[in-house]
Symmetry: C2
């Protein structure tokens, strides 16, 4: 299993807009065959830091996800609401 | 639900030792009533960065976890194998 933590530094006045646009991405990504868990979360330390926390079956599932229409059309809209670059980290499950 | 991502910068020659000691912490934490998911993972970008990724029912579950014998006795052993301070981030689930 591969886990992704993608932290998005959202402009303070765009947080509600970000959540509204992200909902479709969350729903459609969670419905993909290779997805195990896909959620949007908010940092307890920074209310403008929203984080996608994603569990995927394997790299093929992530590669497939990255080509979906919901990913390629919605992510740029979300990136445009950020004040800086997203910070994306990938992890392999040990146990 | 509250999610924790706790990144541990492990000394290069202590990674296998860290994993061995962490296994009991993972198993006992995952068995707690308020735990939803508790795993040890390794960063794809840095093989010496091991990360606990934890899903908890609520803050009370985390408070209870923090007083368990497995947490209070094993975590210091793991911290002693690190080259720096752990980086711990907490997130509230939005959707």
């Amino acid at each position: 299993m591969i886990k992704i933590v993608a932290k998005m530094p959202v402009k303070a006045d765009q947080v509600e807009n970000f959540k509204e646009i992200a909902r479709e991405l969350v729903e459609k990504s969670a419905a993909e065959e290779g997805n195990i868990s896909y959620t949007l979360n908010v940092s307890k330390a920074d209310p403008n830091c929203l984080a996608f926390i994603e569990f995927w079956k394997d790299q093929a599932a992530i590669d497939s996800h990255n080509t979906t229409e919901h990913f390629t059309t919605i992510l740029p809209k979300l990136a445009a609401l950020c004040s800086g670059e997203p910070e994306v980290e990938l992890f392999d499950l040990l146990f």
